[in-house]
């Protein structure tokens, strides 16, 4: 009797050891391109985010850069007539890049508080953003909408619902989504966050990173422009002078009269 009890306890701990997070951490994530190299022929890339989760879960995938600060020129009507730059408007606590995708509309999956906490969607970003000058909530909403328009135009913001595909696989489900990685995204470290959602709650979450880095001549040129600007300026001028003279000589030899 006693040995049966011991055996049960042993099996219980053995099961915990083998399936340590059977109920909590079935979610996995992998980005196919976790190190994007910017070389001379770089024109953006694609990032496929794949993984597995418990079956029946909805999946939300978000890629962001750390929250930062952007100062932009603000256009408006001067004297009610002419469109011109009226000054600078500052946006704080906004990511430089923000790409979001999910299996279903996020408001159908999660409550407002959870959406706000995880910054899922433009409305949630608007909540956390600080905009100055923007005196009234109406003005803040107007300029945040313009900010989204500006970022989407630069292809660094995107909110595409229902793009994450899921397929059952044994007792789990595989998910995948492919993002067009914009060439406008600057070098840096980007975080890919995946949320498995069920019953109006985030049940599991997982993260991975995408590193975007300049390499080769691109890295050397941009480094030189910043670190050795006098030499960089000098080389730029000498090359331009040489090219101008060179082409002039070629045209003279090539049959230019007089």
């Amino acid at each position: 009797m006693r040995s049966k009890g011991l055996l049960l306890i042993f099996f219980f701990f053995f099961a915990l050891l083998i399936f340590p997070q059977a109920s909590r951490a079935a979610l996995t994530v992998k980005a196919n391109h976790d190190h994007i190299k910017i070389d001379f022929l770089y024109h953006g890339s694609t990032v496929s985010v794949t993984g597995a989760s418990d079956p029946g879960r909805d999946i939300v995938v978000k890629i962001t850069s750390p929250d930062g600060h952007e100062a932009l020129k603000q256009k408006g009507k001067m004297a009610g007539l002419l469109w011109m730059n009226l000054g600078t408007i500052e946006f704080e606590h906004v990511p430089g890049l923000y790409l979001l995708s999910s299996t279903r509309k996020i408001p159908d999956l999660l409550g407002t508080d959870e959406i706000k906490r995880l910054a899922l969607g433009y409305d949630a970003l608007a909540e956390q953003a600080r905009i100055s000058p923007a005196a009234t909530p109406g003005e803040k909403a107007k300029w945040f909408a313009e900010f989204i328009k500006y970022k989407e135009h630069g292809e660094v913001y995107g909110d595409s619902e229902r793009k994450v595909a899921v397929s059952p696989e044994g007792g789990r489900q595989d998910y995948s989504v492919t993002f067009d990685w914009p060439y406008q995204a600057s070098p840096g470290v980007y975080t890919v966050s995946v949320y498995a959602v069920g019953d109006g709650k985030v049940l599991e979450q997982a993260e991975t990173q995408v590193l975007v880095e300049q390499v080769g001549i691109v890295k050397r040129l941009s480094g030189m422009a910043r670190e050795n600007p006098a030499l960089y300026g000098f080389i730029s001028i000498i090359s331009a002078l040489a090219a101008g003279f060179g082409v002039g000589m070629i045209f003279r030899k090539g049959g230019g009269s007089h």
Partner: protein, 307 residues
């Protein structure tokens, strides 16, 4: 084929800047303008940040104007003496203009003043050149055999009474040395305020105030622009780190060749024909800026810096 631009941090189809360079270089060789008033907005439309667009354009103008000056020098169309006097004035004027910009910014309405100065200058210069060259072309048609004696304006007469009169052989004119220095200074002030090279102002100043022949004006203007752009390129690279060498190379491949072709075409056109063509381009740019000012833009936010 796409190339990545390390300073502009964007990627472009390499045929586009080469083609733009060719077109603007052609205008440069034809009219003696740097073409910044065309090139910078086009580069911004390609997605290049405005500060990088302006700085890189000045780097490529170094190449185009070297190519153009060389081509014009070979056919004897560069007045180096006049060019140097204008440069001295332009340099001093640039320093004054930078201070003027600082004062305007402190007053808080710099952008408005800059835009209005730009539109007015382009509009007045374009309209004046257009009307004048049209009249002159008609006159020549009507009375080719009896050339009207050159009438000196009141301004012209008072300029003649200034000290330090000197002969500019290449241009075939005599002026006080102060005249090109002061006029160069005036253009320098305006160019610095507007943030442009000022070729579109310098050309009419040389034609109408210094009374230089159009073909010498083109060559001399290019010579003058070359030095201005060397200075601007260095300052932009050194202080703002905004020169994109890769983009400049793509642009100058087109513009150096364009400047040579422009010079060849220019020799086949008469002075008045050149003037009226330049006037039409300047007026078209004016209309474009006026439309930009009056039509609602699609985006109300833009990258910081530049104007």
């Amino acid at each position: 084929m796409y190339l990545y631009l390390p300073v502009a941090l964007t990627s472009v189809n390499l045929m586009i800047p080469v083609g733009l360079g060719l077109a603007v270089g052609l205008l440069s060789g034809l009219f003696g303008v740097g073409g910044g008033f065309l090139m910078t907005p086009l580069l911004i439309m390609l997605g290049i940040p405005s500060t990088v667009a302006a700085a890189t354009d000045s780097n490529q103008i170094v190449a185009a104007s070297t190519s153009g000056t060389y081509a014009h020098w070979r056919v004897g169309n560069v007045d180096f003496k006049m060019g140097i006097y204008l440069l001295i004035g332009g340099f001093a004027g640039g320093l004054v203009g930078v201070q003027a910009i600082k004062a305007l910014r402190a007053m808080g309405n710099a952008d408005f003043v800059i835009k209005m100065t730009y539109v007015l200058m382009l509009g007045i210069v374009g309209a004046y050149m257009f009307i004048e060259s049209l009249q002159s072309m008609r006159k020549k048609k009507d009375a080719a055999e009896r050339p009207a004696p050159e009438k000196d304006s009141a301004v012209g007469r008072s300029l003649k009474s200034l000290p330090f009169q000197t002969r500019f052989e290449k241009s075939g004119v005599t002026h006080s040395a102060l005249v090109p220095i002061i006029l160069g200074g005036f253009v320098g002030v305006l160019a610095a305020i507007m943030g442009v090279g000022g070729g579109f102002l310098m050309v009419p100043v040389m034609v109408y105030m210094l009374r230089m022949p159009m073909h010498v004006v083109v060559g001399t203007s290019l010579f003058q622009i070359l030095f201005t752009c060397i200075e601007v390129t260095f300052l932009q690279a050194y202080t703002n780190h905004t020169v994109d060498f890769t983009l400049a190379v793509l642009l100058l491949i087109g513009s150096t060749i364009g400047a040579q072709i422009g010079t060849v075409f220019g020799r086949k056109l008469k002075g008045d024909q050149l003037k009226i063509l330049l006037a039409i381009i300047v007026l078209a740019v004016t209309v474009k800026i006026v439309l930009d000012l009056t039509l609602a833009p699609s985006l109300l936010l833009g990258q910081g810096g530049g104007h």
